[in-house]
């Protein structure tokens, strides 16, 4: 069941990449779109079969792989990974659909996208530390190539920076995993059994520290974030959508699953500092976003800010805040995906993303009125206006975290105020005002340009009006996650 999510895209990618005959660009696009849609539908089917009432792993698959290493092919899905899994397959569809039809080397490109989809899905469902790490590293390769080949002017710099950063992140994570297994004396890398081993607190701190830095690079948290704006600016639109929408979530997912899940005791001791780290990230990202003049950089820095909320919620680790952290992941995925898509349309039509040059794009005759309206919606969703998913997820984050970290939560809330500052500046400068001379005679926006954005916008509003549709999948898992951690903490040994 779950393997299909991984192996169908990989096999199709292999076919696309290595098929000896010629495949026309159109055919390769259609094939990849069909595969991605099939994967999406399959993930929805899984979601419909998913039993939200239990916290245990569902649809488990278990195949022993390399016994001597302790590596098993063990997959499973719970309320923490299911929403992310669906989000991943949805955004992959959108990324493929919104790709430029006349893209260079289409076969390779689409094959890489499918590979990326498969490896991210694999990372979300892996129930074995080493298997997770494998997928986590595999995901790096297609993304590096996607930035380095189809990127902007400074793509080499950005892609290499991304590669080095993420490789370091991978090394730290691997080191923590090895450390855990060797020091605890466990014989396998399987996740569930490892949770029952307890280590002296100092060791826990060391391992958790490595994990925090490793995943902190991926999320990204200040000061490990500088790869993100560069990567976003150089990556093409679909890649930006995937990067912001799904790949950053690997970091927060890893923190919740492995940081909080494996080292609850050390986590709870460090939690106040993590919350402070979240505050720094939120405020630093927001203030930076205010000063940007490139629209894409602004959205990228806003990601830094908004991912900080997830760390805050994870640090607080109350049942509500954990639920909120999952919700905020999905909400940020949808909203930042929408914003990157729209920025991409603007860039495609006007040839620039510079806030100082663009002006008056809401102009109904010669501007981009529908794109502008969607942008206002996306921006407002990001700023946490009610009726859209950003509001309820952020409210749950704050409501869940306030009881534990009042000061830090209030400081993070300043971030929502700052979000409206920078995004309002963006909308006001780019879309309001008189249409500037530099961007007159824009090419027509097709409905195919707008369709993906409209789908995301509809989802944002629907989940904003009816958050139950999202919350019910994760509630049991996140609630019991905390209970389990408490149990585990209770029987740990002193150091």
């Amino acid at each position: 069941m779950l393997s299909a999510l991984i192996w169908v895209p990989i096999l199709s990618a292999a076919v696309l990449g290595f098929w000896p005959g010629t495949i026309t660009p159109k055919a390769s696009r259609q094939l990849s779109l069909i595969v991605a849609s099939a994967v999406f539908v399959w993930s929805l089917v899984l979601a419909s079969q998913f039993n939200p009432g239990t916290a245990s792993q569902q649809f488990s698959e278990y195949i022993p792989w390399i016994d001597s290493l302790g590596l098993t092919y063990h997959l499973g899905v719970d309320g923490l990974s299911l929403p992310l899994l669906v989000l991943n397959s949805l955004l992959t569809c959108i990324a493929i659909y919104s790709t430029d039809k006349s893209i260079q080397r289409p076969r390779f490109y689409y094959a890489l996208l499918l590979l990326l989809n498969a490896s991210v899905a694999g990372a979300f469902v892996a129930q074995d530390l080493l298997l997770f790490f494998l997928f986590y590293e595999v995901e790096l390769i297609p993304l590096y190539l996607l930035i380095a080949i189809w990127g902007g002017k400074r793509r080499g710099y950005a892609a290499t920076k991304f590669l080095i950063y993420t490789a370091i992140s991978g090394i730290l994570i691997l080191a923590a995993f090895f450390g855990l297994v060797l020091l605890s004396g466990a014989s396998t890398f399987a996740y569930e059994p490892l949770r029952n081993y307890t280590l002296p607190l100092t060791t826990q701190f060391l391992l958790l520290g490595a994990l925090l830095v490793g995943f902190g690079i991926k999320i990204p948290l200040v000061p490990f974030h500088t790869w993100l704006p560069d990567a976003h600016v150089e990556a093409s639109t679909p890649i930006s959508v995937l990067l912001a929408g799904v790949l950053l979530k690997l970091g927060t997912y890893g923190l919740l699953r492995f940081g909080l899940g494996l080292f609850p005791e050390a986590w709870s001791i460090w939690a106040p500092w993590l919350a402070i780290w979240a505050v720094v990230s939120v405020l630093y990202g927001s203030f930076n976003a205010i000063a940007q003049t490139d629209m894409k950089k602004m959205v990228a820095y806003s990601s830094v800010g908004h991912m900080g909320y997830i760390l805050l919620a994870a640090a607080a680790a109350t049942p509500l805040s954990l639920l909120a952290s999952v919700f905020q992941m999905v909400s940020h995925g949808l909203i930042s995906g929408l914003l990157f898509l729209l920025v991409g349309v603007v860039y495609k039509k006007t040839g620039t993303r510079d806030i100082d040059i663009l002006r008056g794009l809401l102009n109904p005759e010669r501007g981009l009125p529908v794109v502008g309206s969607l942008m206002v919606l996306g921006v407002m969703a990001s700023a946490g206006l009610p009726g859209m998913v950003g509001f309820i997820s952020e409210f749950l984050v704050f409501r869940g975290s306030f009881a534990v970290f009042p000061t830090q939560t209030l400081l993070c809330m300043v971030g929502t105020g700052l979000t409206s500052v920078y995004f309002l500046l963006l909308v006001n400068r780019v879309f309001f005002g008189r249409l500037s001379k530099e961007v007159e005679n824009l090419p027509q926006v097709q409905w195919s340009d707008r369709a993906p954005a409209i789908i995301l916008a509809a989802l944002i509003v629907m989940l904003g009006l009816q958050p139950n549709w999202m919350v019910r999948w994760s509630e049991t898992t996140t609630t019991t996650m905390m209970l389990n951690s408490q149990e585990l903490t209770a029987n740990s040994q002193p150091f």
Partner: protein, 630 residues
Amino acid sequence: MTQFLLETSWWVPLYGLVGAILTLPWSMGLIRRTGPRPAAYFNLLMTVLAFLHGSIVFRLTWNRESFELVFHWLKAAGLDLSFAVEISQVSVGAMELVTGLSLLAQLFALGYMEKDWALARFFALMGFFEGAMSGLALSNSLFLSYALLEMLTLSTYLLVGFWYAQPLVVTAARDAFLTKRVGDVLLLMGMVVLATQAGSLNFPDLYDWAETAKLSPTVATLLGLALIAGPTGKCAQFPLHLWLDEAMEGPNPASLLRNSVVVGCGAYVLIKFQPILNVSPVALNALVVIGTVTAIGASLVALAQIDIKRALSHSTSAYLGLVFIAIGQQWNGFALLLLFAHAISKALMFMSVGSIILTTNNQDLTEMGGLWSRMPATTTAFVVGSAGLVGLLPLGGFWALRQGVEVFWVSDPWIVAVLLLVNALTALNLTRVFRLVFWGKPQPKTRRAPEVPWPMAVPMVSLTVVTLLTPFIMQSWSPLPDWEYVNLKAVLLLVLSGLVGCGLGGTIYLHKAWSRSLFLPWRFIQDLLGYDFYIDRIYRVTVVFAVERLSAINAWIDRYVVDGFVNLIGLGAIFGGQTLKYSASGQSQFYVLIILLGISFFGFLMSWLFDPSLFKTIFDGEFWRLSLSQ
């Protein structure tokens, strides 16, 4: 049937939203053939429905206990977020006022916005506006109220920014949104605190909690201040007041609603907060201070405005300041009465102003004059509206202010003084505006000024009648006292203050030259008032400057320190590699030398690590002494 209508009274806010959604095909440009008018008609229809449904419910609530409807929205992880709706006489009455005024404003807009190509978008926003406001009137939960307040913020932004191509509109929309958002974020903080402390966000539960709450004084004060921050922004009170003045750049029918009911919504929410605010005396005092400062300051500022809409919008701030004082002093009845009277009169005055602007294409008071004979209905509307606002003739404003004067007569005489001062200043301002616009000689822009067409005249005249009937409406609501029981001194003082204001306004020298006096102290005062005490400049050099600098510095640090460090490491690695490649000379002697050096270095290192005493003897000179002495 009646029961059904009562139980479905929460539909009323939805009508407006449905209307907004129905206009989408036109506002998005999907249907072009019919022009945007059908969208407007759909919206009007929905508003009529809302009004009718509301009035039936209003009739039904007349002699009935108020009751509450609760909808559970989100239940997760021990949290129960519910939308509570209160159906009571007051809440349904407020909703009725909102839908009624919205209906009139939309009718008025049909004429006022006739030639605008984006009519459909305008009506969609008006429907959204109406829905949010009437929802706010019914809401009985802090969570729902907050959400609706934010929706109001959003729709204010979009309505002010309706003519987004104009530079002044762009800044006005931005300031309106950001100012209100500051208040809203503070309110959100207060809400999160309350939710954690009280467990529920429905007002009845919060009231119960507030009665027994044990909070430290600091927390209580901060909580109270956070709660009043939201309404302060909504009601355009100092220090979050500047947006209303700028927002006058937006279309007039929206300004009409904004100056009458939107600001009122903020105050209405504040009245709902009032039992919670009792936990913090500081917050209540802050309300009184804010209200006093705004009431007097805005009345003064209004005197120096030459834009007709701005002259009126500052008086809105001033009246809402009086409402704030009333709420701070816990006289909610007076607050509601004043809000009601103000909403109706202000709406009427803005209709009159809208007619003037549409006819003359001009908002500058100094370029008008002599309109009374050309636009009789408009003139009547202005006069009746002014009379309904000021405490002089026995219309709404008089009765409301009279109650205020009486309730504070014994306890807080200084508030009576504030009320009288504001009344006098408002009367002065309105008389000034009246003289400039309607009296005097016609100027080029007002020479050919026909009365407005039917779609604008009908709502204007109907509202004129309603304004004249306000005392009777108030009578049926809470009986006005008989003349014998009225505190005659208070009434006399009130009328006197109104007369003084009108007298001053009628006699001061109004001339173009007056608008820029040559006498320097005069001119200073004029500029001080004309530029709102320069508060926007103060903000620009403090808050705005601070945020801007901070973000610039932050971006600099990010680019050159954080990222610079990363790049330095990269550069170091490349530089090291590039330099070391010259060490590969190809001569085997060289490699052997390097190997030898390396081995000896590590040999020394190891022996130093494992037997430091050996080195000690060498450095002590012991080794040399021994070897030399042999």
